[in-house]
Structure formats: structure tokens, C-alpha cells
Point group: C2
Chain length 321, copies 2
């Protein structure tokens, strides 16, 4: 039996898991990322690695590979990180090679959202489906594509940018100086912006104190306000879910997937506000013969989706599947 | 050397070609379709087949397979046509098997627009590219996806419906009771509708006599009016091209293709009105690292694109590539 390890290196935490060939999780380990130099991160990665081996009572020779998810521009073919926001030491850092030296095993690098999609597709909400689209609603909106059980990168390696698709030409202002993008209409950032603007114009809401004290509004207070029946938050989340449904409708007609997996902080906080409206909206758009073969599901793996995708990727790329 | 044949069975004509292993066209043959019974169509297919063999001085044993494009719902796996509009005799007709009996060679069936994309991808504007998206602007808007040099069908077999993507949520009324779909905003039908409405409201245009006499307006008079500098037609085609660019922008960010191929009757009639504006619009939307690897090209094979795709498909599926 050969085991693989997945690592999801985020802005604040590193999540790592060790799985067997059936994707059963045998050990997990996490650390704070502590933004800073690559060498600090490598120390933490090594510490997670040793922790995982110890927990599972295994040695390096039992591990066939490691897959690492990283948030920023990178080249999956070379394992090089091009840059990390505001951290010059990361410029063209060969992360895969460095981790491979430390852990003495092949290491593969990919975009964190791609790996989240792969993890959900093979070992989460996708349950081994062939064709899966991942949409992750958080500060921004990330996406990933799995075709035939494998990640699809497109020609430039950048495929899957669902957030930068346009679903309302000439619609509301969106990031990157565009209008009506999926990200501009469905991210938590866009939800908070809408709520804040309405409150500033006088609409009543339990979130008013947070807006007035200029506290950053995260997904949790939004979910609490929704569950407390706050009408403003309900209206904004309904609109957001409708846009999510339009996105899925378009993607369904284009790609005819088995499963669209919805994840990310906003979705995890209020799935009951997003999922039913998104399904209802998408159903009106997707042609019936496609709709009949297609599901829309909430992500199941939570914080482990990216790390699971890394473990799956390592198994696929070392041929130990 | 093994040869393959492609056939594009349209509503009005059958286009057929015979190619060698490098996709060089050795013979072409076409017939009118004469809507009616499948047996009439099979006779015409047989007649084309014999014509092709005779022209190329070959026999059945030189042909490794035939790929047929058909417009309408069908199952590529079984080669069965589910239905043809208003023609009950076509209900669940096993077209591939019937042609195989006549021509004594393996026959494969696929959607005509898919095959048009495959033909352009491998032997037309795509020049052997890995990842190609085809968008065909005609009465409706058809699309096809080629990933890794092969057609992508999705899970239900229906992938590629670019025309049913939504790019302007809550926008103008579109087919299928939707709003703001690619088809509703970029088909020739939508162009004619806009021109007609404006003329009926009093806008001046050289197309006024056609509108007043209720003559069906096809792509050719639109192109002539555009070239004659008709301001209304220019405005409508500019808007249409912008929507085409938005579509390509979204597709570029999602799929990061090598090439987006634009074809279909409207595009072939006025490429100079569509391509530059579509490129300029898409460039603003596609993330730079994707844009740098991506081209937007006019289809090159004209009426032969679907038949060429059929010939390519037959070669791929008989393993004689």
C-alpha cells in the first residue's frame, strides 16, 4: 500500500493530510502560516510532514508523493511559485523542488482552488464523478475544472477562472475594472459591499453596528443575521444566490458536468441561503437533457478539500492510482 | 495509407469529403438534402460515397471510417438520431448503423457543430491546436469544445452549448424564455430582429424595403448594407460583435484555449464587422497570462468544416491516426 500527502498552503494556515489509496484520511496536521520568508514556511511544512508520518506510524519510503496547493500565480509543470502578494522573497520560488529535497519524495504544485475542486470531485461532494466544476465563494470567487477525473488547466495553465466570467454585461462594477463578473456579483466582498451601501443609505439591519464601527464583516455575522431573519441580508443573499444560479446555468450548458460543487467561506456559512435559489435558477437555464444528468452540491470536505486534492494529485501524477 | 470520409448532413445540403491521413482533401461531393424520409437521405449519402470513391480512384477497402455530422439531438455513443424537427420518421433512427451497412465501413455520428469545431481545430483555423472553442453565428448560435485535440461531450453528451450561456442576466428576451443568452444577443436572428424593430420605429436604413415587404433577411443583405456604410446596420453589428467579445472573454477565463474559432453564416458574411470588435472586447476581459496564449480566428473551412470534422473523428475513433 502506498500513501500520499496533500498540503494546502493558505494565507493564514497550512492544512495537511495523509491518505491511503482509497482517500481515507489517516492523519491531519495544521500550522499557522506566519507570512514571511519561504524558509519559515518550509520549516512548518517539514514539521507537518513529520507529524503526519508519526501519527500514521509510517516512514518517508511509504509516501509516493506530495501535492501542494498554493494561492497565487504558479506553474504546475515546474512547481515554481511566480509571486506571493507583497512578499518579494517568493519571486520565482521553486517550492515543489524545495519541499521534495526536505521530504525525499516527488512533490507537485497546483493552484489551491484547482486542488479543492479535485479533492471534492474525487473524494468529496463529487463522489468520483468524471466531470466536476468547483465554485468557491469567499473574499473572491475561485473555480476549478475536473474533466475525466483529472484537472483541466487549458493552454496557458490558468483555466478555471469562473470568477472572471461575465454574467451581466454592463452590470455592477466588478474587480479588474470590469462589470458584471461572477466575482463582482457573488463574492463575500460583493455581499458585504451591497449590505454596507444599503445600511449607509438608511436601510435597517442587525449588521448596522458593524458597519458604523467599520468592523470587517466576515461570513459568520452574515450567516447569523440571515438566521435571525434580517430582511436586508436575506434580500442580498437571495440576489447573490440567483447570480450563482445563473453562473451554474451557463456552465451547465457549456460543460454538461456531473456535479457542480459549491464551496468557500460564504457558502459554508449559509448553504441554506445559497443552494436552493441557485438550483432553482440554474434549472430554468440548463437544457433539460443536460439538467437530468447534473447535480449541484455543497462541498463536503471543508478546510480539507485543498489538501485532499493535493493527495489525489500526487497519486495521479506518480501513477500510483 | 488509410483514408477517411466526413459527411455534414444539413437541413438543405449534404457536404461530403474524402481526406488522406494529413487531412488533405482528395475529393468532395454534395447533394441537396430534400427533407423527407431517412431512406431518401440514405440514397443521397450512398450516391455521395460512390462519387467520392470514384473521384479519388479508391475502393471501400481503402476507407477506414466515416464521420457524420447531423443537426439535432442525437447520441454519439450509439449513432442514433433522436429526432429531426417535424419529421416523425426520424424518431430514434439508427443513422450510423444504416450508413455503415451501405458503405461497409465503421460510421460515427456527432453533432454538426461539434464536428465543425473539430474540423477547424485540427485542419482549419486551429492548425492542430490542443484546446479549441468553436462559436458559430447563424440562425442560432452553436458551439463546440475540443480539449486535448478531441471533442469534449460532457457527462450528458450535450456539452458545447455556448449559445445557451447567459452573458447579460435580465437582459433582452432570448430563445427558450430566457434573457440575455449568447444566442439571443449574437445570432443572425437577433441581428435581424434589432434591425427590423429600429426600422419599424422610423430609423433610416437601406434594408427598409426588405423589412416593409416582409422579405426574410439573410446574412448577405446585412453584409451589403454594412459595406455600403448603413449606420443602423453598423450600430447593430458593433453591439453584436461586443457581445461576441464578452462571450469569448468569459470562455477565455474559464477554459484558457489556444484558439477560439468564429464561424457561421453571419460571421462569414461580415468578418470585418465582427472580429476586430470581438477581439478588442475580449482582450479587456481575459486575464493577461491567458490572453497571451490565446488567439481568436475566423473559421477557414467554410462549408467543409463539419465534413472535415467528420473525417477527423473517423480517423480518431478507428485509431488510424
Amino acid at each position: 500500500m502506498k500513501y500520499t500527502i496533500g498540503m494546502d498552503v493558505g494565507g493564514t494556515k497550512i492544512y495537511t493530510i495523509l491518505v491511503d489509496e482509497s482517500n481515507k484520511i489517516l492523519a491531519t496536521s495544521k500550522r499557522k502560516t506566519k507570512k514571511g520568508s519561504p524558509s519559515l514556511l518550509l520549516e512548518r511544512i517539514e514539521s507537518c510532514y513529520e507529524d503526519l508520518l508519526q501519527q500514521a506510524d509510517l516512514t518517508s519510503s511509504d509516501i509516493s508523493g506530495i501535492g501542494i496547493g498554493f494561492p497565487g500565480p504558479l506553474d504546475p509543470r515546474t512547481g515554481i511559485v511566480f509571486e506571493a502578494t507583497n512578499l518579494p522573497e517568493w519571486d520565482h520560488f521553486p517550492l515543489a523542488d524545495k519541499v521534495s529535497e526536505i521530504c525525499k519524495t516527488p512533490v507537485f504544485l497546483d493552484n489551491d482552488v484547482n486542488l479543492g475542486t479535485l479533492g471534492e470531485a474525487l473524494a468529496g461532494a463529487g463522489h468520483g464523478a468524471e466531470n466536476v466544476i468547483g465554485i468557491f465563494l469567499g473574499t473572491g470567487v475561485g473555480g476549478g475544472l475536473v474533466f475525466g477525473g483529472r484537472l483541466f488547466h487549458g493552454t496557458s495553465g490558468t483555466a478555471g477562472e469562473v470568477g472572471h466570467m461575465i454574467i451581466q454585461h454592463k452590470g455592477p462594477k466588478s474587480p479588474r475594472n470590469l462589470r458584471g463578473t461572477v466575482e463582482g456579483l457573488t463574492s463575500r466582498t460583493s455581499v458585504v459591499k451591497k449590505i454596507t451601501q444599503k445600511i449607509q443609505k438608511g436601510t435597517d439591519s442587525v449588521l448596522r453596528p458593524l458597519v458604523e464601527s467599520k468592523t470587517q464583516i466576515k461570513s459568520r455575522p452574515i450567516a447569523e443575521a440571515y438566521r435571525a431573519g434580517d430582511p436586508l441580508v436575506k434580500t442580498v443573499l437571495d440576489q447573490t444566490a440567483e447570480y450563482v444560479g445563473v453562473t451554474i446555468g451557463s456552465l451547465g450548458n457549456l460543460l454538461a458536468p456531473d456535479v457542480v460543487v459549491l464551496g468557500g467561506g460564504l457558502m459554508e456559512a449559509v448553504p441554506e441561503a445559497i443552494l436552493p435559489v441557485a438550483r432553482e435558477t440554474a434549472k430554468k437555464i440548463v437544457v433539460p437533457s443536460t439538467w437530468d444528468c447534473m447535480k449541484i452540491e455543497a462541498a463536503e470536505l471543508g478546510d480539507n478539500s485543498g489538501a485532499m486534492g493535493g493527495a489525489v494529485l500526487a497519486r495521479q501524477l506518480t501513477g500510483s492510482a
